[in-house]
Symmetry: C2
Subunit: 374 residues, 2 copies
């Protein structure tokens, strides 16, 4: 079901431009997936999302399976129909969320026992359940369940989790029943390059439609993130899409594209929008700053989004300070457009052979934030 | 600047269909004004508002003068440009809000002394200040400052407030400096018909562009509201628009249109949207009700809004329960469309001579809510 055609590769880096074909359409890569954890990119309608340039979104199987329930979504015609988005959807398995949100999650070889963060009810998820949930949701791409140790966990813990993730990945492939859904494996191994290589070998041996790198951007320095990413990408098949999970800042994306990654997701643009921080070609714009109180300029003169076309910094600051719901919508439109345009610029630069200049231009950006898992 | 042309009058009631011409365009009357207290209809972009059928919106001079400040809005090109809405805007003076929100508001003959509900800072507003603020905002219609006694206030208090409001109205007309802004007077008098008649006489004598009825829907039974409205409308010039302030349910609007009113505003459709209650042709739909958890039908089969065209009750319930910001947008689109379509139906019924049937059809609707001042 999945096709992946590489149209251009960069001479000076591992970057490539391609088209990823999925059940609900094609995606130009490198691509950024806005995060729709609960089946909605916070504050945006599907038509807003399209206008922002998004071609694929990410939803979360863990969250949707707890509420409203995967069977409910299936009965209503699947996730695409449910959320009114007819383009590709990638569902994260929710492994990360189980380990980070659920109190007292207990890992056994069979899977994870945990209590819902919503109502405390007891749940069990094995790798097969996670496949079943995502097949019920009907996403274009399903992710395997993996064990995600906390950032900075001791090496033996990371090793055990990585090895268990590989065994779970094998069970996930065996459990597949839908031929119209792609499945991506996930390489774990923390910041240990040898462990990453082992994990890559074991995961690739299972033959997935695409390969993700997980367990990074969890607190380690960003140059470590980039180094591990750069070392891991070449261990993954060149003819399959590579997905770097849960990252990052614009600078991260530029670096990781140069390292050979094709897919990204991150809550930063949507979360920052809600907190009143806008990405602009001149750096981050923090709306609560009093200097914008009477500033009649749009957030970014070089942006073509609906927000920049119609509203001033002063108005957006006013909406943010007054906690008007429209602030979320307008700020999110802008930030998602910024990210999607960055990806478009990256694709153009790779095709034109000018990626190096773009990497240099974003190096050392003021933006300090790094980790951004939902 | 203001023109008002009546195209049809109803044979069996005092209803009329007209066109109100204002500085920023024409409005088909009877018209409903969605409430944009802080310069934004909560959750809707201006293009959403247009799509919902709105031709005029209401903003609040009191709120906008405290934040971001009328001078700031003026410096940024006026309220239309500030909020990105190029159609007509009516600004409420904010008298009601001063009396209901500001702690320790003290009325003197000169005006009202009060403390900001935002930061406790001391303010004074006289009728001239309120004109100045609204002229700075540049709304199409300005409302005079009036004194609004609480619902159920003793008759001598209501009388004193009504008489003071008339003196303030005279000062407001004398303070006008903009010829492109209409000004409406406000008839007070509580539920006392004699006092209403006195107030109408005094207000009409000042020669406003339109006339509002204020101080109703503040707790009195709804048949009393309707009776006072029906008795007051004929005391106002037939060739000027009549505005019934801060009301109401769909049934209220039908009754008040039949009584001869042309303009309405109410927070009900937008507030209910945020609370997850949708207006439908089959009655109110309360999204938190578990019966909608797997309901694949749109909110209202007979509605043509974006929400009903793309989403199920189950999805809207899910967004509401998960407190997703998109819930506010989609629910508000639907409820505002419902209100705007009701007005369209009323205009059609008056023109076709079938208003009586519409009045009968909405009589005794399940909806119990009545008062709805912001």
């Amino acid at each position: 079901m999945t096709s992946f055609h590489i149209a251009h590769t960069d001479a000076g880096s591992s970057a490539r431009v391609g088209r990823l074909g999925l059940a609900h359409g094609e995606v130009a890569t490198p691509a950024f997936m806005p995060v729709a954890t609960y089946g909605s990119v916070k504050g945006l309608t599907p038509r807003d999302l399209r206008e922002c340039g998004a071609e694929i979104v990410l939803a979360n199987a863990y969250h949707l399976s707890l509420r409203p329930g995967a069977e409910t979504v299936a009965r209503l015609g699947g996730l695409h129909r449910f959320m009114g988005w007819d383009g590709p959807i990638l569902t994260d398995s929710g492994g990360y969320q189980v380990f980070s949100l659920a109190p007292l999650a207990r890992v056994r070889e069979e899977g994870v026992e945990f209590r819902s963060h919503l109502d405390g009810s007891a749940h069990f998820l094995g790798p097969e359940d996670v496949v079943r949930v995502q097949e019920a949701l009907g996403s274009d791409v399903a992710m395997v369940l993996d064990e995600c140790p906390a950032g900075g966990a001791p090496e033996d813990v990371v090793r055990a989790a990585t090895e268990r993730s590989a065994r779970w990945a094998a069970r996930a492939t065996a459990a597949r029943a839908r031929s119209d859904q792609a499945m991506f494996g996930i390489v774990q191994g923390g910041t240990n390059l040898a462990l990453r290589a082992e994990s890559a070998r074991a995961t690739v041996a299972l033959g997935f439609d695409g390969y993700a790198v997980g367990g990074l951007s969890v607190g380690e320095p960003r140059d470590v993130t980039w180094a591990v990413a750069a070392a891991t990408a070449p261990l993954l098949p060149a003819d399959r899409p590579r997905y770097f999970m849960g990252t990052g800042t614009p600078e991260d994306l530029v670096r990781l594209v140069a390292a050979g990654f094709d897919l990204f997701d991150c809550v930063l643009p949507t979360r920052h929008a809600r907190n009143g921080t806008l990405y602009t070609s001149g750096g981050p714009l923090v709306l609560r700053n009093a200097r914008y109180a009477a500033d009649g300029a749009p957030p970014d003169e070089r942006c073509s989004c609906y927000t920049c076309g119609h509203f001033s910094r002063a108005y957006l600051r006013h909406l943010h300070m007054a906690r008007e719901p429209l602030a979320v919508t307008l700020n999110t439109m802008h930030n998602v457009t910024y990210y999607e345009r960055l990806m478009q610029d990256l694709r153009g630069a790779i095709a034109a052979g000018t990626l190096e200049a773009l990497v240099d231009a974003t190096a050392g950006e003021a933006e300090k934030e790094h980790a951004c898992q939902a």
